[in-house]
């Protein structure tokens, strides 16, 4: 048994390790950029609503429409659809670098929606109390809206991250690698079922771990 394992590791260990690194790179970088874009978008979606601090019908409708359009496109189509855009931004359309742009375009609107629903849960009265104390709107956004919804935000980001891991499986199509790609190329196309089982197992552990971490962090941040 142990001989078998060491034989497997000798043969595939390096590839699997490389794939893990690639997945973490893709997920980590695109998640970071997506949050930086998605959180402000979510805030805008909440604040430009009718009767909110920055009420703006045109902007609100435009944002809604754009987010809905992007979210309608399956990732695998999006990946090819925006190739020229990717080339313009990243300078390349292949490898980890080339896949970050489509991953962000795919994830940021999703995060914006998740943030929107989290922020909408915040009690309007608290926001009002802070307005009544003469606190500036930008401070209210961070210290009331984001702070009070931080538990829901963490849960939302957990969901988004897991979705992102799923999307990276398709990144192999532009040569970015990663765990999903490894399972597909070796496991499916070359019938190396052991490789497929191991990578799928690793993905399960990853997703389980993330969800548990997200749940417990969210519970710890919640104080009511």
């Amino acid at each position: 048994m142990s001989a078998k394992i060491s034989e497997f590791l000798d043969l595939w260990g390096a590839d699997i390790w490389k794939a893990i690194i690639e997945t973490f790179q893709m997920v980590g970088i695109s998640l970071l950029i997506s949050v930086l874009i998605g959180l402000p978008l979510g805030v805008l979606l909440v604040l430009t609503r009718p009767e909110k601090a920055l009420e703006n019908k045109v902007l609100f409708r435009l944002l809604n429409a754009v987010i809905n359009v992007i979210r309608s496109i399956p990732f695998i189509i999006l990946l090819f659809f925006i190739l020229p855009f990717t080339k313009m931004i990243a300078g390349t359309t292949i490898g980890v670098k080339g896949v970050i742009v489509p991953l962000v375009v795919f994830t940021a609107p999703y995060i914006a929606r998740l943030m929107e629903s989290a922020l909408l849960e915040v009690d309007r009265g608290v926001v009002e109390a802070y307005e009544a104390m003469g606190v500036k709107t930008r401070h209210i956004i961070w210290h009331v809206l984001v702070r009070e919804s931080r538990s829901s935000i963490v849960l939302g980001l957990t969901i988004a991250t897991i979705g992102l891991i799923g999307a990276t499986a398709m990144a192999g199509l532009v040569g970015a690698g990663g765990l999903g790609d490894l399972a597909y190329r070796y496991g499916h196309l070359r019938y190396e079922v052991d490789v497929m089982y191991v990578t799928v197992f690793l993905l399960i552990v990853l997703v389980q771990g993330l969800q548990s971490f997200g749940n417990s962090l969210s519970a710890r941040l919640k104080k009511d």
């Binding site: 009690d123 009265g125 608290v126 009002e128 109390a129 802070y130 307005e131 009544a132 104390m133 003469g134 606190v135 500036k136 401070h139 210290h143 009331v144 702070r147 009070e148 931080r150 538990s151 941040l221 919640k222 104080k223 009511d224």
Partner: protein, 344 residues
């Protein structure tokens, strides 16, 4: 000092236009406690929210210490709002913050230096009696304690004016008492002007110097609390006073008693609450007074008594008895049966 000049607020939804507040003017003197009372939907909540422009009046002007709020830029308005505290029915604390953070964060965000923040948090927690709850979260506090934190949060900005939007409506009677006592103490010790709105006459009776009665967006009656208590002019004000005294008589009894004399409401204010005016009446005139209902209550500064009395005798004698009572400083009003049922 708070001054509202011809404040109007209208809401449009589609074709229908609703006037929530209709041409209201009132003035709250520096250092006084002013109550606005009304049934739900009277527009009182909209009114108080227009004082710090949480709602912008459609028409009219708001002055605080002679600064016209309605003309200020956003930045200046924010600065001025720091001098106007507000507490709410639902407390509106940060759920994710401790008691300490709930008071300290708004101070930090409005530019109070760190050392000063710590001093103020400690000072005002002491005043509201929650020094030992410094690190508790709102979910671990009772309703009354949450309102105390909200009061400390408001006081920590050292405001000149405190607005109370139904601040005791979500609390049980005992807690209401203690919060009212705290508000009174704040008014007395710091000279903070308080404008409160409520639907409970009890609150007005307990702590207010002056009161305005609101109905359908309008102020229908305003004046010193003792005057509204002794001589309410409108039926709404009468109902509010009635709500405290519970001296409504059965209709059959009223009809029967009116055949043999008159029924009168007597109000005794201040020192006179103790004078034996009725005893004199029975000695001086051919009249037999019998007390049908009565109560003495404590207004903010003086006792206030109310009796419903049947004066048995012929019309001449009872009229002379009434005149005598009025001369001796008792407010006399004919007893009117409240027939219309009120939906609140």
């Amino acid at each position: 000092m708070i001054r509202l000049e011809n404040i109007t607020k209208t809401y449009k939804s589609g074709e229908t236009v609703t006037k929530a507040v209709d041409d209201v003017s009132l003035q709250v003197e520096k250092g006084s406690i002013y109550g606005v009372i009304g049934y739900s939907g009277a527009g009182k909540s909209t009114l108080v929210r227009m004082v710090n422009l949480l709602e912008r009046p459609t028409d009219g002007k708001v002055f605080i210490n002679d600064i016209e709020l309605t003309s200020l830029s956003t930045g200046k308005l924010q600065k001025t709002r720091q001098r106007i505290g507000m507490i709410f029915q639902s407390f509106n604390l940060l759920k994710t913050g401790t008691v300490h953070q709930n008071i300290a964060i708004p101070l930090k965000l409005t530019g109070v230096p760190k050392k000063e923040i710590e001093k103020r948090v400690a000072k005002y927690l002491e005043i509201v009696g929650l020094s030992d709850k410094r690190d508790a979260y709102p979910s671990q506090l009772s309703g009354g304690q949450k309102q105390r934190v909200a009061i400390a949060r408001a006081l920590a900005h050292e405001p000149e004016v405190l607005l109370c939007d139904e601040a005791t409506s979500a609390l049980d009677p005992d807690t209401t008492e203690s919060i009212l006592a705290l508000l009174e103490q704040i008014n007395r010790d710091f000279g903070i002007t308080i404008l409160l709105i409520t639907h409970e006459m009890h609150v007005v009776q307990k702590i207010c110097h002056e009161v305005a009665v609101m109905e359908n967006g309008k102020v229908i009656e305003q004046g010193r609390v003792v005057d509204i208590f002794s001589q309410p002019a409108t039926s709404t004000a009468k109902r509010f006073v009635q709500s405290l005294f519970q001296d409504e008589l059965p209709e059959a009894l009223v009809t029967r008693l009116k055949e043999s004399g008159q029924i009168v409401n007597l109000s005794f204010i201040g020192e006179r609450s103790g004078s034996p005016a009725l005893a004199h009446v029975s000695k001086k005139f051919d009249v037999y007074p019998s007390i049908l209902a009565g109560n003495i209550t404590q207004l903010k500064d003086q006792p206030f008594g109310r009796l419903v009395v049947h004066l048995e005798g012929n019309a001449d004698e009872t009229n002379r008895a009434v005149a005598f009572l009025e001369e001796s400083g008792v407010v006399v009003e004919g007893y009117v049966q409240e027939v219309e049922a009120h939906v609140s």
